[in-house]
């Protein structure tokens, strides 16, 4: 790693001002992804602005009336173990638990997980000046594209590596970011951008902005006896631990008397952004979900998939994950998953 200045800001305002005034300043939270990029020589920050010493950014608050609020600096270990998250937002605790390894989850933060950079090996290899790094070509198109996108790709074909993002989008989460001009919030789904909008970036953060909070709104019918809310995160990876998703599915569903009343389906590991599947949602709405319907929902979601040659396997894998997750969420047994 090249040397850099390390700066512990006194406040969030000082952090964002410093970040916006120095073009070679980078924000460091847990540092897991950032230090990896620095070691690989992909980025060479002149200054690191450390968020770890700022107070009150790692909270997890839950109430029935306000829902769930998580500070960006909350660690993944804290999120996966939190009793309210396990009980009410299963998909999120499962997603946080599925990230990397216990040692990494003790350090890695929610904000960092949402803002981590792609894992594409052409991007991570400093020898390839790829489109994602300002070059002219996405080498995955004609190269080794086993792990690349089957949906939403072009002109770059990275997949978004976050597990927490699909889970949170399935829960309808909002994200708050703070910058030199103050705070703003948006649906987490709108936070991520496709490469057609900007091939160099994965999200809408502007110069000096950092993620500060994620808010999951409460379920509108909490307390009604005939309705149930269930959510699940399923992830396929090559290694039992550490690995990123080949494909993953986050499903969050409300049922009333066995009928699907509302549902969000989001795929991870298959597109440059967490990939919402409105076709699957439409297929399920207002219906009792059985195996045939769940399979149809999975298939419909992947109808637009365009594999690159070595990642065709992801099409069937993602469709099956959607099917399985829908069936788990609609299962009549009340056992938590």
């Amino acid at each position: 790693m090249r040397n850099f200045q390390h700066f512990n800001p006194a406040s969030l305002a000082q952090a964002t001002t410093t970040l916006s005034s120095k073009p070679d300043a980078w924000v460091i939270a847990g540092g897991i992804d950032l230090l990896g990029e620095m070691k690989n020589g992909i980025i060479q920050p002149g200054t690191l602005v450390n968020l770890k010493t700022l107070p009150n950014l790692d909270y997890i608050k839950f109430s029935e009336s306000d829902g769930l609020r998580i500070g960006a600096m909350a660690t993944l270990a804290k999120i996966e173990a939190h009793p309210d998250i396990r009980k009410h937002f299963t998909v999120l605790s499962q997603a946080a638990h599925s990230v990397a390894t216990p040692q990494i989850r003790n350090v890695g933060t929610l904000g960092g997980n949402l803002c981590q950079r792609p894992r594409c090996w052409y991007y991570r290899n400093p020898a390839f000046h790829c489109l994602k790094k300002g070059g002219k070509e996405c080498f995955s198109v004609s190269g080794e594209n086993k792990y690349n996108a089957i949906l939403g790709g072009g002109p770059v074909f990275i997949v978004h590596p976050s597990d927490c993002a699909p889970a949170l989008i399935s829960l309808g989460a909002e994200v708050t970011v703070a910058g030199p001009r103050g705070k703003r919030s948006m649906p987490l789904e709108k936070f991520f951008i496709l490469p057609t909008e900007n091939p160099l970036r994965e999200n809408r953060l502007q110069a000096g902005e950092v993620v500060t909070e994620v808010h999951v709104p409460p379920f509108h019918d909490a307390g009604s006896s005939s309705s149930a809310h269930r959510s699940v995160y399923l992830k396929v990876k090559e290694r039992g631990a550490w690995d990123f998703a080949l494909a993953s599915a986050a499903v969050s569903m409300e049922t009333n008397a066995g009928m699907c009343r509302s549902v969000r389906v989001v795929l991870g590991g298959v597109a440059p952004i967490p990939w919402r599947c409105p076709q699957a949602e439409k297929t399920c709405m207002g219906k009792q979900i059985d195996e045939a319907l769940a399979a149809e929902a999975g298939k419909a979601s992947l109808a637009q998939a365009v594999p690159l040659g070595k990642n065709d396997y992801k099409v069937e894998m993602a469709a099956n994950l959607i099917k399985r997750a829908l069936l788990m969420c609609s299962a009549s047994s009340a056992s938590p998953r």
């Binding site: 040397n3 230090l35 990896g36 216990p102 040692q103 990494i104 039992g240 631990a241 550490w242």
Partner: protein, 181 residues
């Protein structure tokens, strides 16, 4: 009188608790905790592995929790408590029960991954004195071993846990000598 030159400080200077004792160290600010421990404090028990968080051999305890010292800056140790494998030994140089069972059961071969396993297991047993095999596997899932496989490591953790609970457990003969033919 000779004019003093103003020389800009190149090193960061931090104080923290290392293996139970106060410690101060100066180092280049870009160094990882792993590099500070090995190069500036000469504690080479912590091993340098993949550098990217995949192998777990550099694991140390930071405020009692296992972290990868290759992905934590040395600066992040400021004011905190760090435990390395050197800090595991008991008074009078006796081995920790985990070190003892790792040796007795052949849970270490080349030994390169052992410090990371020991510290991660130490934290597991501190919060869960009687873990199931599944809980042990889960806790150690971030540590790679390429020699023994994991069965002997799990058995060593289970036996050490029994010893630490004060039980008079002994290693089964076939674990050490294999099944009698």
């Amino acid at each position: 009188m000779k004019q003093r030159r103003k020389i800009r400080k190149q090193k960061a200077h931090i104080a923290f608790v290392l293996n139970g004792e106060p410690c101060e160290v100066a180092f280049a600010p870009h160094k990882t905790l792993l590099e500070v421990l090995r190069e500036d404090l000469n504690l080479t028990g912590t091993k340098h592995g993949c550098e990217l968080g995949e192998c777990g051999t550099c694991a140390v305890l930071l405020d009692g929790k296992p972290v990868l010292s290759c992905l934590v800056l040395g600066l992040d140790a400021e004011g905190r408590e760090v435990t390395t494998v050197e800090g595991m030994q008991l008074p009078e140089g006796r081995l920790h029960p985990l070190q003892e069972t790792f040796a007795d059961l052949g849970a270490a071969q080349c030994g390169y991954c052992t410090p990371g396993f020991l510290l991660t297991a130490l934290e597991l047993l501190a919060k869960n004195p009687k873990p199931t095999r599944e809980e042990i596997a889960q806790a150690l899932s971030g540590n790679l071993c390429r020699c023994t496989g994991y069965i002997k490591i799990y058995e060593a953790v289970e036996l050490a846990a029994a010893h630490m609970r004060g039980e008079k457990a002994e290693v089964a003969e076939e674990v050490v000598y294999g099944l009698k033919s």
